[in-house]
């Protein structure tokens, strides 16, 4: 890759730049900052839209009463039950059980508090999902 071939396509890094190694005109490697590459944008976009679509689906499931808000907030933090269980210090099978709304509603404050701390949100947020 030459210096002038370093992609400067889109600035979706939100203003940040990343370093690329490229050859300058004397054939020496130098660090060049890149503001984004369209090929990377495509593959990264696929992953991001997929995550967003899953999250939206979960949000709707919560609103229709199929899942508990805990499930939504876990996905929002890009966690899986295993990670959430370890972070909150609650067994994985219990975490999965708490995805059922009827069980989540009956949870004690102390348990909710652990989830709220693990997910870095307030207790109020934990009980609701954005409309």
């Amino acid at each position: 890759m030459k210096v002038n071939e370093v992609p400067q396509d889109i600035t979706y890094y939100e203003g940040e730049k990343r370093a690329c190694y490229a050859l300058n005109d004397k054939g020496k490697y130098v660090i060049v900052t890149s503001s984004g590459w369209s090929a990377e944008e495509v593959v990264n976009g696929l992953a991001v839209t997929e995550l967003a679509a899953n999250l939206e689906e979960t949000r709707k499931a919560v609103l229709t009463g199929l899942k508990s808000p805990l499930c939504y907030h876990m996905e929002r933090r890009q966690m899986i039950p295993d990670i959430l269980a370890k972070t909150a210090g609650i067994a994985t099978f219990r975490v999965k059980r708490h995805f059922r709304p009827e069980i989540f509603d009956k949870l004690k404050l102390s348990v909710l508090d652990r989830y709220a701390k693990a997910l870095a949100i307030t207790m109020q947020e934990l009980k609701t999902v954005p409309e």
């Binding site: 370093v6 370093a19 190694y21 490697y29 495509v42 990264n44 696929l46 995550l51 933090r77 890009q78």
Partner: protein
């Protein structure tokens, strides 16, 4: 390039680097007065690798990695350059933060492993649950820390609570507050011997592991898998897998083409150090292999975007990868011979 002050009043020059771990390691060496570049650390620490771990899932997709396991570059480079490091892990987050503050007060900068999701200064698109991001803490500031993140081109501030979460995140590869700083660094390291050891080790890892998921064998088997992928798991699923492979190659702080350009930069620097034309030629070859990897990324992106309308298809992408495998095999075989002839 930005200059910052550490707690001890010593200036610290922030260098923008491509990869977090090699960037942090080279910054720690530089802070101790050993001028060493990022690619040099990457090469000495034998960072270049390939592995396709279909049995480990990350966001539901298999992991393909273009470098050795997290922590290895730091460990190997430190050992080969004759540096002695203090490393700590903690069970108790409070103790971990206290120890960090204590070390910072002595004027020492500290490298540490964190979870990238909880570092809120990152753009949202980079944030995902990955417990292997390395950063340098420069000094304590009001309710936070001054951080030199080698992946960003300027130092940033990080809140204490964010840092604590990031250091003590749970899940695969838990950092458990891992922090490291040099106790003693050899001011005149034997660069040549270290380079040779690094090269030999890289050749072994790329050529000699008798498993079809690592090194050149790994690239080949993944390429063959890609060619058959659309028939096996359906077009949409195959696109997701392919996109993930490219993402690992280009996105996760690689300096382009899955670390291949960085390794070429290392070979170039080594060529100057040894005055060896062979290494210079190998560096050029590595660059053109990197260009093929880039082309693979472009073709894959087009497949994903156009849903296989054009002449780009999975056999073409897999074919490009096979070319990479063949050329890399030849390169590392030659490097193996060249490295053994070099005199330290």
């Amino acid at each position: 390039m930005n200059t910052e002050m550490t707690a001890g009043g010593k200036p610290f020059v922030h260098h923008h680097s491509a990869h977090c771990e090699s960037g942090v390691t080279s910054a720690l060496f530089r802070d101790k007065g050993v001028e060493i570049s990022e690619p040099m650390i990457f090469g000495i620490g034998s960072g270049i690798f390939f592995g396709h771990l279909s049995f480990i899932k990350w966001v539901g997709l298999p992991i393909s990695t273009y470098r050795s396991q997290p922590g290895a570059v730091f460990r190997k480079a430190a050992k080969r350059l004759g540096g002695e490091f203090v490393t700590n892990r903690f069970r108790n987050p409070q103790k971990g933060m206290d120890e960090l503050k204590r070390v910072l007060k002595t004027g020492q900068i500290v490298g540490m492993t964190t979870n990238i999701y909880w570092l809120s200064y990152f753009p949202n698109r980079f944030r995902f649950q990955f417990n292997g991001h390395n950063i340098i803490i420069l000094r304590e500031i009001e309710n936070g820390f001054r951080v030199s993140d080698p992946v960003l081109d300027h130092p940033v501030d990080c809140l204490t609570e964010d840092l604590e979460r990031a250091r003590f995140a749970r899940g695969p590869l838990e950092p458990r507050g891992f922090m490291y700083y040099p106790k003693f660094v050899n001011p005149y390291p034997d660069l040549k011997a270290a380079c040779i050891r690094g090269m030999k080790d890289s050749c072994n890892m790329m050529l000699k592991i008798p498993l079809p998921i690592f090194g050149i064998r790994g690239i080949r088997s993944l390429a063959k898998k890609i060619i058959k992928m659309p028939e096996k798991i359906g077009f949409h699923e195959a696109c997701r897998h392919l996109a993930n492979i490219v993402r690992m190659q280009e996105e996760v702080g690689t300096g382009g083409a899955g670390f291949r350009f960085m390794y070429a930069a290392f070979l170039q620097e080594a060529a100057e150090l040894f005055g060896s034309d062979d290494l210079g030629r190998l560096s050029q070859e590595m660059t053109s292999i990197g260009d093929v990897w880039r082309e693979f990324a472009v073709v894959s992106a087009r497949i994903v975007k156009q849903r296989g309308q054009a002449e780009d298809n999975f056999s073409k992408a897999g074919g490009l990868m096979l070319i990479c495998a063949g050329r890399e095999e030849a390169l590392f075989k030659e490097l193996n011979i060249v490295a053994r002839k070099l005199k330290a």
